[in-house]
């Protein structure tokens, strides 16, 4: 009775181990990421060596996203998993924890804690929206690079050269954003959005940031928050407020209506990509395109004459 069981266990462990022994240099690496931004970075670093798929596509809200059974399967069949960390993927946390058979990498790992922002209402937690500070994002690119090199040392050269090239582009992007941001009238340098996604952006590029909801879209804005924001906008005479691609618009519309009732006309300056990128295949479907779109939209809208 005991022998067949032992035999079965032995066979099973052999099979389980054997998967890990597959020679990765013979084929493309299967990388699975959570957000599209991470996916874009992994694609740039990995180049031809990597097949990337992201669980969360354009318009998807990572704070609320719940993994389906298909997602769990995809995670477990990957060679490596990249996720943001810092509790961005709040609804998926336990799924990520249970994915033990595959190496999971939080791209925010390499960032020094004192470079991270701490939101006042979540003691001990950090603001996860790190991709809006291009410099900060560059360090995650390095983390990704190291992880890929670790997994597949044979192609280390490829990864390193891809990374170097990408970092140059990111540096150019960083400069571009700084210039555009500086071009806005200092009195009008305020971004008002649906949730607090842009704190890092604000800090890096000298803009004041106000969100209606807090750090996570899982919270619900109260009437007081709408009122206070509306009063703030009217008082500072801010020309435009912004909706986000992954968050419902009606909350911002309610703010706009309240501001108008206060006698000031604020425009909806455009749609920003906050927690997700644009459609695949478009310019905004890449990280660089997304950031450029955002800063262009912001700069144009805030420079409007009121």
């Amino acid at each position: 009775m005991k022998r067949p069981v032992a035999l079965a266990l032995l066979l099973f462990s052999l099979v389980a181990c054997s998967r890990a022994e597959t020679d990765l240099s013979e084929r493309k690496i299967r990388a699975v990421t959570t957000t599209g931004m991470i996916g874009d970075a992994v694609a740039r670093v990995g180049g031809e060596r990597v097949n990337v798929s992201s669980l969360m596509g354009p318009g998807v809200d990572p704070h609320l996203y719940r993994a389906s059974a298909g997602d769990v399967r995809r995670l477990n069949e990957a060679d490596i998993v990249f996720y943001n960390g810092l509790h961005l993927e709040a609804a998926m946390a336990d799924v990520l924890q249970k994915t033990t058979r595959v190496k999971t990498v939080a791209v925010s790992e390499g960032i020094d804690e004192d470079r991270l922002l701490q939101p006042p209402e979540f003691k001990g937690q950090f603001d996860p929206h790190i991709w809006f500070d291009v410099e900060l994002w560059s360090s995650t690119v390095k983390t990704i690079s190291e992880a890929l090199i670790d997994l597949d040392p044979e192609s280390a050269e490829t990864y390193r050269s891809n990374t170097d090239r990408y970092l140059v582009e990111l540096d150019q992007l960083h400069q571009y954003v700084r210039e555009r941001a500086a071009s806005i009238d200092p009195a009008k340098r305020v971004i008002v959005t649906a949730h607090d996604a842009f704190n890092y952006f604000g800090r890096a590029y000298g803009l004041e940031v106000r969100g209606l909801q807090g750090i996570s879209t899982a919270s619900e804005a109260g009437a007081r928050d709408v009122r206070e924001l509306a009063a703030f906008i009217a008082e500072r005479r801010i020309p435009a407020i912004f909706v986000e691609s992954s968050v419902p618009t009606r909350a911002i519309e309610a703010v706009q209506a309240a501001v108008r009732a206060n006698g000031f006309d604020v425009a909806i300056g455009g749609e920003l990509y906050s927690d997700a990128m644009g459609d695949a295949g478009t310019e905004e479907g890449t990280y660089i395109g997304m950031v450029r779109h955002n800063v262009d939209t912001i700069a144009t809208a805030l420079s409007r004459q009121v």
Partner: protein, 386 residues
């Protein structure tokens, strides 16, 4: 404080949210009263949960996030849920409560599955379907409130016109049918009105919390009155009050979501009603019962002392121990005697107690009124005396 109470009239957001919530409170209060009296309060819960797949399906079919479309989907799904509940009850052996539970969980589960599927679609985040779980009252727009008001007016008008039919239906449907009223049709109409009430509230408080607003105002109102019309009115007022109070409270405290606050207000009113309402309140009833019991005990002791005084010459005192021995079922003889002493019906004498003249008068009155053995004995004895 002043600003909070009256500032809402001038502040756009507060005005909008308060008006929307008040409207929703009134309608759910009215329909909730009928549901409560028909013992169908759970139906509100089942139907609001059943609305979820309708919202998801409406979005999938039309790719529109216009509130009207989503709400129409919600209404259709809730109505189908109601049909299914009735169908299950009438064709199988399953009783209403189980049928409601089944429909609630199956529909809601289907809704969650659809939502999980939808979340991967582009634009899904923008539609904000998740917001229908708990509502987003703070984001009510002027046009939303107008739509809510129009629907509410239609519902209330219908209820007003068919008031006596609905009252009869709720009290005695068999008799209503015997009079020739189409009971099935009336019940369908009532269910439809309930669905509309639920659907009006979904944007503000969401699928999960809406059931509370159907039950709570009616439950609170029931405690305060025994008249049908008054109960419905109180229910509407409670609902409106909870709506406005919730809106005001969430406007003064930071990061307090409006929908859940409204529900909490309603529940608080229910708690207060359960405890403090005049005839049915728990506190009042307990106090009243205790007072009655104490009264009974002291009446009994007084009559005992009266009987004793008739059997003995003069003012012969009896110790409380002796009295306790006579009346072993009274556990607190001393405090009762002391209470009687306070009322000057008995007095201490030596180391015992004796009845006073005023006490005798009261005892005589008690004797005349009651039929207990003590009273009969006292009557016989006092006749002997006379």
């Amino acid at each position: 404080m002043f600003e909070v109470l009256f500032g809402w009239v001038s502040d756009y957001t507060l005005r909008t949210v308060a008006l929307g919530s008040a409207t929703l409170g009134v309608v759910s209060g009215v329909l909730g009263s009928f549901a409560l009296l028909r013992r169908q309060s759970l139906l509100g819960d089942a139907l609001s949960h059943a609305a979820l797949p309708g919202i998801a399906a409406a979005f999938l079919l039309t790719h529109s996030k216009a509130p009207l479309v989503l709400i129409l989907g919600a209404g259709i799904a809730a109505w189908l849920g109601a049909l299914l509940i009735n169908g299950v009850v009438s064709t199988t052996r399953i009783k209403t409560d189980a049928a409601m539970g089944v429909v609630l969980s199956v529909f809601f589960g289907a809704g969650v599955v659809l939502l999980t599927y939808i979340q991967r679609l582009p634009d899904a985040g923008k539609a904000g379907l998740d917001k229908f779980l708990f509502g987003q009252a703070a984001a009510l727009l002027g046009r939303d409130v107008v739509a809510m008001a129009l629907l509410s007016a239609a519902v209330l008008l219908t209820v007003g016109l068919t008031w006596k039919e609905l009252k009869l239906l709720t009290f005695d449907p068999g008799f209503a049918a015997s009079l020739g009223f189409p009971v099935r049709a009336l019940e369908a109409m009532l269910t439809t009105l309930l669905v509309v009430a639920i659907v009006i509230g979904l944007q503000a408080v969401g699928v999960v919390l809406m059931s509370a607003l159907v039950v709570a105002p009616a439950a609170a109102a029931r405690q305060w009155t025994d008249r049908f019309g008054v109960m419905v009115l109180i229910s509407a007022v409670v609902g409106a009050f909870a709506g406005v109070a919730g809106a005001l409270l969430s406007s003064t405290v930071e990061r307090l979501p409006t929908g859940p606050t409204i529900v909490l207000m309603a529940i608080t009113i229910v708690m207060i009603s359960m405890l403090f309402a005049p005839h049915r309140g728990l506190l009042v009833r307990t106090v009243q019962e205790r007072r009655n019991r104490r009264r009974l005990r002291s009446d009994v002791l007084l009559m005992d002392l009266y009987v004793l005084s008739l059997q003995h010459e003069g003012d012969h005192p009896h110790t409380s121990e002796a009295i306790t021995a006579m009346r072993p079922e009274v556990t607190d003889v001393r405090p009762s005697l002391e209470a009687l002493e306070e009322r000057r019906l008995v007095a201490r004498k030596d180391d015992g107690w004796v009845i006073t003249d005023p006490g005798r008068e009261v005892a005589q009155r008690l004797v005349a009124r009651e039929e207990s053995p003590e009273a009969e004995l006292a009557e016989v004895l006092s006749e002997g005396e006379a």
